[in-house]
């Protein structure tokens, strides 16, 4: 399986021009194109705490429900990180003997809990935080201390919002002169989200009268500059500095609002959440990968990985590549799909021309569709899709590969899990050219290619590239086609592959 991890042996060219091993690629079953992590749209599916595995389905929803806690959203409420080394803190229990308040001679033992880091051995006791009586410690014990800043910032925020409103008010007054209220059409307004437009078109939120805004603005107290600044402590010139008691930048930035400078001021931090992400094809907006919500599950609801659909290419044997000398390379092709597929080989140039043609047709198609789109899918609700422009493939070919003629077709039978255990031998006949096909078994075929490494790249890796066509059975019936054609569609697709045959050696003569 090393080839799955080594990402520089066999690389496929994604539709966007990135080179990735097949295990890094998606295959959109709607567009019938390869997609990679670079050209899909990533979305945050759910938040979870990597320590206690609690799911917090939508931080956004929580924000709406309880607007008093937006501060710590996207942080786990029950788990903490060590402020010293930034690893997760563990809860530790101890028994503490406490003198009975009523009878001083009696000693009661009490269970107490504190947090400790198993990595750097930092504990909440180090900074003098009291032990807690319950195991699920909330942060009450060490509430953030910068409340004075928070109050001031709230005032500043209100002030800025009032100013913004005043400005909007003035502008709306100006606009009123030109347009009447009823003929106002907001649909062409750029810069507003659909929700915003609806809100404004339907029931515009009434702005308070400018006079009240001005009254409120007048209440605001701007900051006053002082002519005294924080002095340099004079003992800095005489006192020994214990550098181990000064925090590092990483420790400071982990608590951006307080940025403590002494290790005594470090407080446990709420654990930052992790996310589960889904990937969406940018062209058709279908998911290519969607995980299950449960953080402890590693399964996917949707997983259109390329290795379920696109024939896989592996090296079987390589003759050491020698500059200028043809060497034989045996490459294995595996059909991962449930349908037979037919392979044929073309050069990269041919494949590129083909793609260009397809691309221009494709763009013509979409423009027609947009024109016919029902009114519900107007440009207002359906945002413009933006697709990254294709990039040229960033690899230089250092070897040439002699491909079989493009009309030679190799049929690969479908993948059959049961056949793996079937020793009865092949019953099907494929009438292969024995010069090309050396070996066959179930859904796999080993083909022989000839590679001629270029002489001027001796010492570098011999990189060859070619493209192959394969037939793909599209079992997804799009609503437009489903009425006329219920049968699965058979389409011919093309994929470009780049393979690294190893270092080119010098000829021996």
């Amino acid at each position: 399986m090393a080839y799955l991890v080594r990402n520089d042996i066999v690389q496929y060219a994604c539709t966007c021009g990135q080179l990735r091993p097949i295990s890094f690629l998606y295959f959109c079953r709607h567009c019938l194109k390869l997609r990679c992590g670079y050209c899909v749209c990533h979305e945050v599916e759910s938040h979870y705490c990597s320590n206690c595995l609690e799911i917090l389905p939508s931080a956004e929803a929580r924000l709406k429900k309880n607007r008093h806690v937006p501060k710590h959203i996207r942080k786990c409420q029950a788990c903490f990180d060590c402020p010293n080394c930034l690893n997760t803190l563990a809860v530790r229990g101890t028994t503490v003997s406490v003198r009975d308040p009523e009878d001083p001679s009696k000693v009661n033992s009490q269970k107490k809990y504190y947090h400790a880091c198993f990595f750097c051995r930092w504990t909440t006791r180090d900074v003098g935080l009291p032990d807690q009586a319950v195991q699920t410690v909330s942060a009450n014990g060490w509430a953030q201390k910068n409340t004075s800043n928070l109050q001031r910032i709230t005032v500043l925020l209100e002030h800025a919002k009032l100013l913004g409103m005043l400005e909007r008010h003035e502008r709306e007054q100006r606009e009123k002169k030109f347009t009447t209220r009823f003929r106002r059409n907001f649909s062409h307004l750029p810069g507003l989200t659909a929700a915003h437009v609806r809100k404004r078109a339907g029931l515009p939120p009434e702005l308070p009268a400018p006079s009240t805004i001005k009254v409120n603005l007048a209440e605001f107290q701007p900051a006053v500059a002082k002519d005294t600044v924080q002095e340099l402590p004079s003992d800095i010139f005489t006192e020994e500095l214990d550098i181990s008691r000064v925090t590092t930048l990483a420790q400071r930035f982990a608590q951006p609002e307080t940025q403590p400078e002494n290790i005594e001021d470090l407080l446990p931090m709420y654990k930052h959440l992790s996310t589960k992400q889904s990937q969406r094809c940018r062209e058709c907006e279908h998911n290519v990968s969607k995980p299950e919500l449960n953080p402890s599950s590693i399964k996917f609801k949707i997983q259109q990985a390329a290795y379920f659909h696109v024939p896989e290419v592996r090296f079987v044997t390589i003759e050491p590549p020698i500059g200028g000398k043809p060497s034989e390379v045996v490459i294995l092709f595996i059909n991962p799909s449930q349908h037979p597929t037919t392979l044929s080989f073309i050069t990269l140039q041919e494949a590129e021309d083909e793609m260009k043609q397809y691309h221009s047709e494709g763009s013509a198609d979409t423009s027609v569709q947009q024109g016919e789109a029902p009114p519900s899918l107007s440009s207002l609700t359906k945002p413009v899709t933006v697709v990254e422009e294709q990039k040229p493939i960033d690899i230089s070919l250092t070897g040439e590969v002699l491909l079989p003629a493009p009309d030679i077709e190799i049929i690969l039978p479908p993948k059959d899990d049961a056949a793996e255990y079937d020793d009865s031998g092949e019953t099907q006949q494929f009438h292969d050219d024995p010069k090309i096909v050396i070996h066959r078994r179930a859904n796999k075929a080993s083909l022989r290619f000839t590679v001629v490494p270029k002489t001027d790249f001796i010492g570098e890796n011999c990189v060859i590239g070619f493209a192959f066509r394969y037939t793909y059975v599209n079992r997804i019936s799009s609503p437009a086609i489903s009425t006329s054609e219920q049968k699965p569609q058979k389409v011919q697709l093309c994929t470009r592959v780049f393979m690294n045959c190893g270092k080119i050696l010098e000829g021996t003569q």
Partner: protein, 390 residues
Amino acid sequence: MIKTYYESGSLSTERQAVVIEFGNCYTKVGFAGEAGPRSIVPSEVRSLKDGRTRKVFDAVKADDQYNLLVEFIHNLYFRHLLVSPKDRRVVVVESVLCPTAIREMLAKVFFVHFEVSSLLFVPSHVVALSTLGVNTALVVDMGATETVVIPVCEGVAVLHAWQAQPLAAKAVEGQISDMLKEREKSDPLEAEGYNNLTEKIIEDIKVRACFVTTLERTQKAREGKPCPCPPSINYLVGPGSNKINISGDVRENAFNILFEQDADQISVSTMMLDAITKCPIDMRKPLAENILLIGGTSMAVGMKARIQEELNFLVSSPQYSEKLKLRTFKFHTPPAKENYTAWLGGAIYGATDIVSTRSLSKEAYLKDRKVPDWVSLIYNTLNEGVKRSV
């Protein structure tokens, strides 16, 4: 009572905008309307291929730069902000001196790759003032590579008076590195420690051991009557725990590079006075009495005290006593740490209606594929901006 207005307003239902301040060394990232950034992260990307870390803004080729930015911003969204970038507003707090190429590139990354719904560039010096509620101030941004001084009057940056010099964190770190190398020669026993000094370690030494000394001591040292050095520190370098000695001289005088007037007689403090001098005479007093220091370098221990001393000293020196008749210099204390004050300004801006009216929308960008320059469009000619959005 004031609260009710905007709670019923259009913004309360809208998703919070993302506010990002890209820095050469550290990037601050968080949400509009919040009191502090979610994360302050090194502006670095770890390469998947060879595991090296690269600075995001170090790329030479445009292609390379684009890929670095994509990867870096992807990390910001999915590791730090934990929200989907698509259809969410973005506010970028940028320096006025940010090259157009970088801004265009950022716009392309945000709109084309991340499909954000709108993008608003706000100038860091101007928005930093919204953390104070004042409109006029001399804003001094001491960042990683440069110190930029810009006077802001009534909310408008006085651009012809700006001053920028590479007198910032990198200069101090270079100085520490040079001073330590000097020591290495005299102390061959600790050579192993000195050989392993990386950029990160020099930065750590600067942050944890060094401070800004007083003007008085520097002057005495210049006159050849140096005061006794502060105590030295033993510092352990790298995994081998090689010990090096950081002398009191390094600790005390590394930051002096910012205040030594070089051949052109420029230091951080003269930059501030020069900026004031270039402003109209009626603005000078309010500027001198409203000084705002932002940027991580201004957080160094003793920095503010030193700047104040320097200003008071310089203004009575022959260099400036003729030009400037200023007596007092007053400093603001924003409700934030200096290194994210500009970010906080952006976060306050991003929570208002301005973000919906003045942003560059996705549709507008895709039509022209151009970012309007903030100087021309957003601040100076308001009418044009209105025409665009209606």
